[in-house]
């Protein structure tokens, strides 16, 4: 008799879970990201009717930051470990692929996954050490990491020291010169968003979110928190490293003060915070908004110092008034438009 009751309860629970899953599915609108992706893939056709290199550059730049912010989001958003030092992996990826490109002449677009892997391995090792502390300690240790890498990179003669390395320019006509990098970044951005979606909806992602809520409870309910967060660190380092690899060739030079400036890691953090930490659409929206703001400030006000001021102000205002970010705040009030609900 007792057994029969359990079976019924289990079946009822199963049905209930499925009904929830269907309800969530209805609110999602996965057609929208696919539409955006399709539009982005045909965007370079504009070059046939005129010179739209600026549009291409801005889209590419945004896509680059989408890769990085989505990568950062896996550690900072899902797991709740805020790192201000992720540009270290940007630099590692950029330098690894850049050095191979300069010496062996293999395009960084081919090397990018390998560069990402190198960044991930280094990230794994760094994570083993730094993820032992959490909260403010972790944030401060990540800042120290940037400073250490900056000094090392600036004094390592083999990779060019502070002056950096110039990389060869590709020989495509100027109209099409940006296209390989454009497609590389669009594909990487799509992969980054897709992977973070997959992670969020896996057991691994569930574990990460449990860690961000309460690490001790997560540990006591059987999650291998140490392994989970170090893996999250490695995955996020992978994407940031991959973006760095292609970015170096796109700029045609690699130098510590391009990769290892604090503004790059701030941008990653700010995009996720503004868009909504821990959501899939958040980093994408954040990247679009921040790049648009930056471009607006540089175009209208000119000075880069004002850019720093504006970035800081946006970050402060977001943190004070919308700590959940755009997507998070809208979702909390049930006003998230369907086409932004990618979770």
């Amino acid at each position: 008799m007792a057994e029969l009751a359990t079976d019924e309860i289990l079946a009822a629970r199963e049905r209930y879970n499925q009904s929830i899953a269907i309800a969530v599915n209805k609110k999602r609108s996965l057609w929208f990201p696919y539409l955006v992706l399709a539009l982005l893939l045909v965007l370079p056709a504009l070059q046939l009717i005129g010179n739209f290199n600026y549009v291409i550059h801005l889209t590419l730049f945004t896509a680059c930051y989408v890769v990085m912010a989505s990568g950062w989001n896996i550690l900072g958003g899902f797991t709740g470990y805020i790192s201000l030092g992720h540009n270290v992996f940007f630099a590692i990826g950029g330098y690894f692929a850049g050095m191979i490109f300069a010496r062996l002449d293999i395009s960084t677009i081919i090397i990018a996954p390998l560069a990402g892997l190198v960044a991930a391995v280094i990230g794994y090792c760094i994570g083993l050490v730094t993820l032992r502390v959490r909260g403010p300690s972790f944030i401060i240790s990540s800042l120290a990491l940037v400073m250490i890498f900056r000094i090392v990179f600036e004094n390592w003669e083999f990779i060019g020291g502070a002056a950096g390395l110039a990389l060869p320019v590709n020989d495509l006509p100027v109209q099409w010169a940006k296209l390989p990098y454009y497609y590389a970044f669009i594909v990487m951005a799509a992969i980054a968003v897709w992977v973070s979606y997959k992670i969020k909806h896996s057991k691994f992602g569930l574990g990460l979110r449990a860690i961000s809520k309460d690490e001790i409870k997560a540990e006591s309910s059987g999650i291998n928190t140490r392994l989970y967060k170090v893996l999250a660190f490695a995955v996020s380092a992978f994407f940031v490293g991959m973006a760095g690899a292609v970015w170096g060739e796109y700029l045609t030079y690699i130098r510590p003060n391009i990769f290892l400036i604090i503004l790059i890691s701030v941008n990653m953090v700010l995009m996720c915070v503004l868009g909504g930490k821990g959501t899939i659409a958040g980093p994408v929206i954040g990247a679009i908004l921040i790049i648009a703001f930056n471009e607006l400030f540089v175009a209208t006000l000119g000075a880069s110092e004002i850019n720093v001021l504006a970035t800081g102000l946006i970050m402060m205002l977001t943190l004070i008034f919308f700590p959940l970010g755009i997507v998070g705040t809208l979702a909390k009030h049930g006003k998230l438009p369907q086409f932004l609900n990618w979770d």
């Binding site: 805020i82 201000l84 050490v129 730094t130 032992r132 502390v133 959490r134 909260g135 403010p136 300690s137 944030i139 401060i140 240790s141 800042l143 120290a144 990491l145 400073m147 250490i148 000094i151 004094n155 604090i262 701030v266 953090v269 915070v273 000075a303 110092e305 004002i306 850019n307 720093v308 001021l309 504006a310 970035t311 800081g312 102000l313 970050m315 402060m316 943190l319 004070i320 700590p323």
Partner: protein, 292 residues
Amino acid sequence: MTLLIQTLILGIALGGVYALMGSGLSLIFGVMRIVNLAHPSLIMIGAYVAYWPFRLSNIEPMFMLPVAAIILACIGAILYRLVFEREARSAKYSEMTVLLTFALAMVVEGMLGTAFTNTQRITSPDYATEAFFLADIFIPKGQLYASIISIIIISALALFLKYSRLGYAIRATTENREAAELLGVNVNRVGLISFAIGLALAGAAGALVSFIFSFFPSKHWEWIVILMSLVVLGGMGSILGTVIGAFLLSAVAALVGTYFGATWSTLTFFIALFVVLLVRPQGLFGEKPELA
């Protein structure tokens, strides 16, 4: 041997200034649980307050020390009311304020950069380039004076914390916020006052820094890690710990600078911060792992 002693003296002479720079950071963390990443950028404001009168009408930077302290105390009170008070009850407060003060640091850097450009500045009163000589060893006057003034200010702060009524309240809040509140301490007012005091220390440090280091608005990123390293080494919230950490690290950094080259001298602070956070996050004098 002379080189060793000379290096140690140069390191220790800088230690006092570092101690003053770090003590405000430590006080604010102790009372408010705010990791004030904007501290060095506010020190920078103090440095500019001392710089312009010197540049324009040759006013002694040390005379501007109280002025810088008062200006920054006012900024601190306003910032506390506008930004930090409203967050004080939220969960993950400490982590949140790290990002907030980080953003604040960028705002200050941007403002200073827009107003004064990123040119390197330094005030150069006569004593900044002179030195006392003891046999073969020289002690630069500027650093010596600055260290002495720093130690006086920190001692005054320690006496104030130890013997005044407000000092009791501040220490009680540092030790246990809830218990202090239960016993009738107005923790919000204590927070406001200690934030203002912390920033006044930053202003005073800024005036002293103006004739020791050359400064420009974006230099504070380097200072933040230096300051965090000595505050974390001493134990966040412990002012005595900060002073000891400051002398220890600046002596070690001077030694590294002499024997391995000046580039690696700053690296000492960064690596020290990294190692201390991971090996003993509560620092030398911290009682419990507050930050971990």
